[in-house]
Symmetry: C2
Subunit: 342 residues, 2 copies
Amino acid sequence: MKVTIRTVAEQAGVSVPTVSRVFNSPELVNKVTRERVMAIADSLHFFPNDRARALRAPKRPIIGVLAWQIKDFFFGELLSGINKAAAREDMDVLLFDAQLDSKRGMDGLVFLKRQQSDGIIFTSSPVLDEYYAIISRLHIPVVLALTEGSQYNLCSFKIDDRKAAFDAVGYLVARGHRHIGMISGPMEDTIAGNSRFSGFREALRHYNLTYTDEQLAFGQYRYEHGYAAMADLLSHRDVTAITAVFTASDEMAIGAMRCIHDHGLRVPEDISIIGFDNVAVSDMVTPKLTTIMQPFERIGMESVSYLKKAWNASGDSSSGTYFLPHRIIERESVATLSYDSS
Amino acid sequence: MKVTIRTVAEQAGVSVPTVSRVFNSPELVNKVTRERVMAIADSLHFFPNDRARALRAPKRPIIGVLAWQIKDFFFGELLSGINKAAAREDMDVLLFDAQLDSKRGMDGLVFLKRQQSDGIIFTSSPVLDEYYAIISRLHIPVVLALTEGSQYNLCSFKIDDRKAAFDAVGYLVARGHRHIGMISGPMEDTIAGNSRFSGFREALRHYNLTYTDEQLAFGQYRYEHGYAAMADLLSHRDVTAITAVFTASDEMAIGAMRCIHDHGLRVPEDISIIGFDNVAVSDMVTPKLTTIMQPFERIGMESVSYLKKAWNASGDSSSGTYFLPHRIIERESVATLSYDSS
DNA sequence: CTGAAAGCGCTTACAG
DNA sequence: CTGAAAGCGCTTACAG
């Protein structure tokens, strides 16, 4: 029933090594034999077992990817970058979806290792001590994408979240906004939460803008959280007088825009919104969302290059955080205020 | 450098089989030995090679998934369903991204097979003869998700696209629309293109509505295609008098809504739109999109169950197309017309 | 309870 | 040009 290299050898009346050679170094085998073997292999629908082969022969490198949640809007773009780079470099990629469950994430790390990954790309979720405990025993290079772990001496590729947040506020200020609110991620999230908030806070100070707690609301990055947080912000508008809101994710920005709409106000005429991510949908909503672009595909590709370098440097791979350039994508959700309104 | 079961055995002063037992049937080995081996394995950071193991022992089934384009909005949901079901059933999943390239798709099929997939879920792209030529030699069950291949005797899980399109028109008619346009996928696409158009056409006949070529425009499912197609439809509005448009994908529907907006018209007051898919974003745009829901996660899960059944039935797996129920999700993009407007 | 032997499907020196 | 032998990392009867 099961057809292996051996079945082919028997049918063709040659030895197993000969069949192997037909597939791996055809030039070493006599033309007639080769063609006979090929024909037999074909008629038997033989496919070599790549896993058995990998046991003996040097194999294509395998990149393991740990996804925090595969459904995330940006994950597809990140993975797409990983896949493109891997295809170009003749590597295979193995994916594991943690489904937002950190226990499952830890299992995933072990799974990827046991499946012979030669390196791992760990995405988006903050590195916890429990994760690092595992990572450090893996003895294969691990690179972080869209998250950071400098305290563990891990290398990561991301944008400078703090600076990007600072720039978002700067953009708003340049357009005349002086009262700016923020919808932030949770502070426990050191990357997309805390550091984006810090950049925001720093910018307010830098530009000498007022700040009170009523200018801030929180959400877990999803649409409905953005909606609820905006409702909160709107309820304090009499005291805060905000004319613009910076949001820690595009999805929350879109929720916020809807909330504004439902309150009978308009974006950007009454309130301006600037998002964060530049996921594909931010260009599909009306008004189109002005936002901070994260180069997801590029981050995926850089992560792959890093792993490749780490293998060659075998052992002492450089650590540190590599900031890839972010950029402001100007679209339709931010209005320019005339000066006398400040 | 490389630590295998053998390294552990040597360090622990036991044989290789004993180490193997410690990991696979710990109850068979003496407690002290077991604990010593565990300790050594731990200190050496030993992880068993699951691929070598699979060569000898009965392994967890592997499901290969061929994605047509991983970035597609709905693919994440489909894959999420596959992953959940696979995790529950103790199966592993292997993913290959064709990146819209049918040559790469064919390579992917072979890749998945050679990597020892026990079954394959083939997604979304129509089955071509070249694909089937490969599929038929794989000798493992292949199930289609969101596409169809009854001419090849393949089993598939999807919704009844034709019926769903018919229902979309029915919904519009029930709300008083008599002049209905469509933005269709390409006719060469037998699933999302041709069959949805057929359902549309049939419904027009069934409800006795007029039809001319000017009521139809085409696009490749993306936002910009929807936009362009809508511009086309709008340019003939003086003759077609359409008050509603049925669209073959949500993404095109969203593009169409933007086009209407840019022409100074409003959805749904001036033109109603009904989409197809119910991807996550259709609930995030304004107006929220009324659309046909495809149960992506469920389709993913059913595909997994099918493969499981096919393995047990070993050999003669049932073929045929299984239609999962679609549903109309009523949101904000369709207006109810008063009768005298018809 | 533990080890020696055989083997999973393949590859790669080594002879001839 | 081709085969016999050894081995990749592991597991599983079979003895003892």
